[in-house]
Symmetry: C3
């Protein structure tokens, strides 16, 4: 009976757009005639961020073997589809709804009632594509061995609960950004993260860390002595094109986060984003060249993405030269971070833990160092944000706290989720299925039926540097 009541209430709610909301747009435009250009900016940048799903899919497919490519593609397509529905039903309300105790939002379920409004739904769209990015990061680390059903459950939970709640703490008026303690300590503002080094990337990276620990490495990744062996991805062209698509979409990711074209700072945000990516790529290329004798293509891609991840938090508040510094350090993190994990038995197929986790944390901290006081809280007015290099110790501490909480929440909830799934339904396919490949095992498909494929021997006996 109660079930039917709920459905009835929901239908009435859905059918009727309530008074306060403006689904038509005329009222909203009358109140703010300047809005059209802000809608154009936020929506087109949101479209660019959505397109990053294709970039993540190509990067992961490029680093995976041919026998798992259809599965990789299906994971990246369905974490966006499932995530969209989960964020529509529950996630957005928890993240951006009316605040409860600084913990979570409480309004906007199913975008019904008050939320059936042109401005609210513009915000929904922009926040959705960020949620999807956080979700898809994990896919790359755990590639080639998880059950597809487990991945779907994970996608729903991360988009409905894990991401939105942490997102509320930073962007929804929650305690990390707005509690008295944090604001006071920061010197006028609490924890900040302009476009999501922590909220999106480190969150995804540390959930990936938990999942990789519980899943275990791929068959054949380590020899009998525990030494790592290279399992080359099937398509380096895909990996680089995926990196280009991410770099292209990331301009929307960072500069779009003003949600307003009236913040002309967007030009500096876009340029800082590019400089950090360039520095990360050049640094990773140089490190692998010096260490292995040849510039490694896969690691250079990861250097570029790590630069993009690291600049995401500070992009609006730092100068171009410091973006180069932030990207350079991210290049070190992407390479040495990967080798450090690999030596400890953690088989992260695409390197998402160092690239998104560690570099995301570095982004939060870099903001606390390099913010130069030329820009405010998503606005040109004061308070203007300064970091350690410009005399603001308090904000540096705030950012350290934010980074720790970010790790604790992401790793904690990620570990709990995958641990429960492991206990209840098992998270890994059988060894036979893993050897056969997830395309056949999980989808009765072959990604490249017309190409004669091989996996056992590399066509040319060669030592693959860089653990890629």
């Amino acid at each position: 009976m109660v079930g039917r009541m709920c459905v009835a209430v929901l239908i009435v709610l859905l059918l009727v757009a309530t008074a306060g909301a403006d689904p038509n747009g005329a009222e909203t435009l009358k109140e703010n005639p300047e809005l059209p250009v802000d809608f154009v900016w936020a929506l087109i940048c949101g479209f660019l961020v959505m397109f990053m799903q294709a970039g993540f899919a190509m990067l992961e497919a490029g680093f995976s073997r041919a026998k798992n490519v259809a599965n990789v593609m299906m994971k990246n397509l369905m974490d966006f589809a499932v995530g969209s529905l989960a964020f529509f039903a529950v996630g957005f309300a928890l993240m951006m709804g009316a605040d409860w105790q600084g913990i979570a939002g409480t309004t906007g379920w199913f975008l019904a009632g008050e939320s059936y409004d042109v401005s609210t739904i513009e915000l929904w769209f922009f926040m959705l594509v960020f949620a999807a990015t956080a979700a898809t990061i994990v896919s790359g680390s755990i590639a080639e061995r998880p059950k597809f059903s487990v991945y779907l459950v994970y996608s729903a939970v991360v988009s409905a609960v894990i991401y939105p709640i942490y997102g509320h703490w930073l962007w929804g008026g929650g305690w990390l950004s707005s509690s008295e303690f944090m604001v006071k300590l920061g010197g006028g503002y609490g924890a900040l993260d302009f476009a999501g080094s922590g909220v999106v990337h480190a969150l995804g990276g540390y959930i990936a860390l938990a999942a990789v620990m519980l899943l275990g490495p791929r068959l054949g990744k380590y020899d009998s002595d525990g030494n790592p062996r290279a399992i080359p991805g099937h398509n380096l062209a895909f990996a680089v094109i995926g990196t280009f698509i991410l770099w292209f979409g990331w301009f929307g990711f960072n500069a779009g986060s003003t949600l307003s074209a009236h913040e002309l700072r967007v030009s500096i945000i876009a340029s800082n984003t590019n400089l950090a990516a360039a520095a990360g790529a050049v640094t990773a290329m140089a490190i692998t060249w010096l260490r292995n004798g040849k510039p490694d293509v896969g690691m250079t891609c990861n250097g570029a993405v790590a630069g993009l991840v690291a600049i995401t938090a500070p992009c609006a508040w730092v100068q171009p030269w410091s973006s180069v510094v932030i990207g350079t350090i991210a290049g070190f993190i992407a390479t040495y971070g990967y080798w450090w994990l690999e030596k400890r038995g953690l088989d992260d197929v695409v390197g998402a833990i160092p690239v998104h986790g560690f570099s995301g944390t570095w982004g939060l901290i870099a903001l606390g160092i390099f913010a130069d006081g030329s820009y405010g809280l998503y606005a040109t007015e004061s308070p203007l944000v300064t970091g350690l290099l410009y005399g603001n110790w308090g904000f540096f501490i705030v950012q350290l706290i934010s980074a720790i909480v970010n790790f604790a929440w992401a790793f904690g909830t990620g570990f709990a989720l995958f641990w429960i799934l492991k206990k209840v339904i098992g998270i890994r396919v059988s060894p036979e299925e893993e050897m056969l490949g997830l395309d056949i095992a999980e989808h009765a498909a072959v990604a490249y039926p017309n190409f004669v494929c091989t996996e056992t021997e590399l066509p040319l006996a060669m030592k693959q540097g860089g653990g890629r």
Copy 2:
């Protein structure tokens, strides 16, 4: 003599921009200082729609065999190139020129004279990329067996005549949208189709139906008992990346159709578009999972595209929850529609008939059901559009009529065109050429000369579910 006269008149017309037109832009800006943001919105959305050509090409190539990929790519490149020139010369004038009897337009040939104007040509660009989409839909259904020359003729005719005339009836002030009878029946407005479920997608889908009937199935598609056999596409990664590109471009397709950034409804249009695609993908995945035991990658892609097609007509006039319903039903249409056709000997390689034809018709009808009265005729003012669920039976009937006319015009002209071509020059390559592959037969090319290809045996003897 007359020929030379025509050329002379044309040259004079082309050389001289007539008085009324504003090719410079200064006058147009003076009359409406708000236009720049509308031009930015319409043009960038138009660029996104153009990029969907790459999405259609990758989806079709992914579902075709390696020996036909260069031909698939060439068809998708040249239907846009040939279509651009045909729409420049004749198509735009027939579609958007000064109306004659509600049937066709009569001005704007070669964008000369009055049409050499910043606003007219902005409209031309936006309408061109829609025409190209309608044309390229057919390519996927008839893949792997048509003559390339026939495909070029088809591309010119559909972009010059078939699409523009039907487009005039809906978007050019023609009888379906503006005749007294239809407006009265609809309760203040005639047939509507916000971004082209019918004008673009069902039109393409039903021309494809006619072509597939006249072409016949591929060699080997049916066994001696007439049972369908799976012919797996050569590259599922291409198919999914193509789907991502379509999903990304479709935001421009639907939200751009306001042609104005001052319609803040664009945020709801973009979000409805995303929700319908997500629902279509999840539904198709679930159906194939339940029916075949494994979630089918190809069908899941088609479910997403069917959701996008179906929401294209109603996207501006419905609520988010109904977008989920519309997309869910499209997921059923994409899957069961494909199997229904396949059982009846219709070999639609990519499934464009159910995905664009049947789902396009469903989109027109869904508009007549779910329009909730919160938005008007491409404007915030009245009349506000309502459907069956909100009490407007008349408009529901209008949409049914529109759907029937849409099918009759598309299937009728499509059948006539391919029938004539079949009689005059033959529309299919020889069996030997089909077996050799169209890359070599039609282009003296091999798409992947460095990969050892196979077609007879699937590398791993396996039963391919889902009739893909």
Copy 3:
């Protein structure tokens, strides 16, 4: 000691944003409230141009053999990364800084001091992605045999010096566009190049000519009698998708060059761009169909790109019909230009010399012929630009001079650079490395380790027309 002083000055300069600059954006907005839509237009078009890097990478990879694909991708990724840092440090200042003698700019090093400003950095971002395009053109011509280290040095020098200095002469207030002599001869304006047929494309094309001459042809490209042999690219699907991405990005390349959405001429620029590309593709397809009996896919792609290159200089100043003429002639140039070079022992793997060099020169000249007087100098006001067909002989001569200077500067500096590199470190890998493939030789990588690859014999003994 002096070294440390310089570093100290640089640090102070970087740390402190000087008085005149507006890194915040509030002042700039107050002075010009209309700017947001211009920033949106310039930045999003700049993002589209950046994405063309992926298009160039896929086109080059498609025309290269599988054993060199990782190297092709790495070149296209790193010329953008290295180019970004070089243009940040030196290039932008030389190109757009305060003019010295019409030769070069002198302010804006490292975007420090006065240049840490929202408008200056918006210009930086737009100019950067153009510099990157010029740099990456050379990569395609010299594919499959250069040392990767040489390519990095070339990338830095072209982005830091060669491109910026020539760019200053056209777009930075230098002598070609602004010297009294040229302005007087042109009838009110010096040399023009709306979006870079010469500044970007012909510059890249003629540096490529010099590099190809000094590198020599690939092993096996010519038989013992000096007759050219086809070396088919490994992936025609990549080549066509790359062409689609270029075509899509080129709308940003040309229409974005108004740097202002208030120039409503942008709609005509976008449409002219599309018509020229379509005409180039159709022409090249027809030429190869008539000459070889089959429409050649690779040449058709080059016809489209040649059309885009040729319309880039005149796009804002010509009518739609003349865009079709300009694109048609470019189609002839792309095909016959390629065969002409090939017969003379010049092995241009992707055909960049005819497509970007010769067609870029044709674009400069076409501007001097077809400019119809309906638009001014990046503005609607007078002087309005007219060409030969509309009575302005002087401007036609100016454009001829510009084309000659463009060739002399590009070929001269390109030849000097590669000649020095040849002498100092050698520009070509060893024959053994070339046969093994640059992926293994330069990057210890295999692009497709899971695909069984072959190179000696084409899978199907066939004659490859079109010298691709």
